[in-house]
Amino acid sequence: RNKTSVDRTVKWLDECIARSPAGGAVFGSIVGGSNIEERKRCAQEVAVRNVSGYWIGGFGLGESMEERPSLLNAVTDNLPKDWPRMICGLGLPEEVLQGVAAGVDLFDSAYIYHLTIGGFALTFPLDRMEKNDYNYQLSDQGSDRTKINLRATVYRKDATPIVEDCCCYTCQNHTKAYINHLLNVHEMLAQILLEIHNTHHYLGFFRSIREAIKEGCFEQFQKKFVQSRREHLAADV
């Protein structure tokens, strides 16, 4: 089935290229499921076509954290370095880091949307992990210290912003107590404020990634980030 999918995808790509207007940017799709060989083959086929970039599909659909890096590498190792690689379906920060490690440049997912709809706000620290002790806000509601759920009653009277030194509109102007109230009374403004903060925070995460890469310490950054989240999960148990 994977083989058929790859054959078809490559065939369709040729048809798209033939039909696309001059000067249009076409991204080639790389599929192949969980089969390393098919992933490799697809990447190699698409790599020789005349495309402006690569769209890597089929991830975030059930493959495990453990098997993902090799699948990703099977693709990116076979793609030219000069064109952008985009991936859909990797949203969690750890997943994003896996993608970055494998050489992906652009990420698209509904992660932020789902957080907002659920009443969650991202709170994981964005500073560069150099210090060993982290200034986590103590929230003992079983949260995983990466995000908080503003619906929780513990925030009813919390007059502090979601993240203390965040410079997004929401944190500069509003409190957790207000957002908690808005969520309780089903007001639109709750989602607006959460979306603003979550987008800002997530984009800040990407900025940290870029900085780490520029300073040549991405591997360290990834390791520390993943480790710190695991530690806190373990501590909460």
Binding site: H181, L182, E187, M188, Q191
Partner: protein
């Protein structure tokens, strides 16, 4: 008394004034958007400042249920809770009596509601209403009134009017912050001029900082509506603000301003936005209409708001009812329209061109000259010559 009201200009009965409140210096006539539960649906306080909003309404009944007035008080008052630096007005919770009547029981003591949140009985007395409003901390608070629909007739109206006067005394006695919050009394009396007169005099005797004309905007015919407003504005003191509650449509606001009213509130602009309707000088524009699909013009080419500067009718058509952003954009535009109308009323009176403004407004809305009779009658009483806009 915690306000100053200074008339800056007049045209016959219409007046433009400066209303100085603890949190903001306002210009009247003015429209107040309704933020029932501590938010104007979908707009940030930043955006409200941007469009020139001066006062927002919060509702005592809803806020007392969630998040409770005690919590608001503990967190420093409603201004701080929602981060709104300008003025706030809270309703008494009385209107809910009319709109939720099947859940309410009115006695001399107060109003018993069945809480829609948990079904528990809730008693709202004049004292309780004022205490809640004291905790919320708005610049203007409303006395609890016994409000009856104008479509009802009979002795109930008289009973309600006298009770309103008795309740206003209890409100005055219960009010703990008269130097920070202004308690307005509400004129009731249905459509009966005799009752209205008694009520006005009773309230004026109590020497309150401001007065509201209540019990209207509930389905009465327009002819009766304007006559009650005209009677009340003629009898209320010159040097205090007059607030017509629940009004309303742009046309109604222009007429009431001509008759001498200063303040208005209504859910209409934001509610109609959520149904895809935009307010324009010609009346309304229904964005859901198929005709909008390819229309690349802004809602109103002459409107200077952010929405009209950045979005087309076609785009808003796509969003409307499918995405929250549709209602946000329309709410933003509609409120801008209402606030711009307020600014135009104020400046046209101050600059001595109020009749011209009214005629221009009517001409745009009724290009065929078919101005409704009630408007013509009202303008007659207001002393404004609109013959140039009427075809008859």
């Amino acid at each position: 008394m915690a306000l100053r009201f200074e008339v800056l200009g007049r045209f016959n009965r219409a007046r433009a004034a400066q209303l100085t409140l603890p949190h903001f210096v306002c210009q009247t006539p003015l429209f107040m958007p309704v933020g029932t539960q501590g938010t104007i649906k979908g707009l940030t306080t930043d955006q409200l400042e941007e469009i020139g909003c001066q006062i927002i309404l919060g509702n005592t009944y809803h806020l007392a249920l969630r998040p409770t007035s005690e919590l608001i008080d503990e967190l420093g008052g409603l201004h701080k809770f929602i981060n709104w630096p300008r003025a706030l007005l809270t309703d008494s919770g009385g209107f809910q009596m009319v709109s939720l009547l099947h859940l309410a029981d009115i006695t001399e003591k107060g109003v018993t509601f069945q809480s829609p949140v948990d079904g528990k009985p809730m008693l709202l007395t004049p004292e309780e209403s004022i205490q809640i409003q004291n905790r919320i901390g708005a610049d203007i608070i409303m006395a609890l009134d016994d409000v009856v629909r104008t479509t009802i007739t009979g002795p109930r109206i008289e009973e309600a009017m006298y009770r309103t006067l008795r309740w206003v005394d209890r409100c005055i006695a219960a009010h703990k912050r008269p130097h920070e919050q202004n308690l307005f009394g509400i004129v009731q009396g249905g459509l009966d001029p005799v009752l209205r007169d008694i009520c006005v005099r009773g309230l004026v005797d109590r020497n309150l900082p401001g007065y509201a004309i209540g019990g209207l905007a509930g389905g009465e015919d327009k002819d009766s509506f304007w006559r009650v407003v005209a009677q009340c504005t003629a009898a209320l003191p010159e040097d205090k603000p007059r607030y017509v509650m629940g009004v309303g449509y742009p046309l109604d606001i222009v007429v009431c301003s001509a008759l001498g009213a200063d303040m208005y509130d209504c859910v209409y602009p934001t509610r109609t936005a959520r149904f895809g309707t935009a307010l324009v000088p010609e009346g309304v524009l229904k964005l859901k209409h198929n005709a909008m699909v390819n229309d690349t013009r802004p809602i109103d080419p002459k409107c200077a708001c952010m929405v009209c500067k950045n979005y087309t009718r076609a785009y808003i058509h796509c969003l409307v009812t499918k995405d929250a952003m549709g209602s946000q954009l329309l709410s933003y535009h509609n409120l801008y329209y209402m606030l711009q109308l307020s600014r135009n009323l104020h400046s046209s009176i101050v600059e001595g061109r109020f009749p011209e403004f009214v005629c221009d407004f009517l001409q745009k809305m009724f290009p065929k000259g078919d101005v409704p009779e009630w408007v013509c009658n009202a303008m007659d009483v207001a002393g404004i010559d609109i013959s140039s806009c009427c075809s008859s």
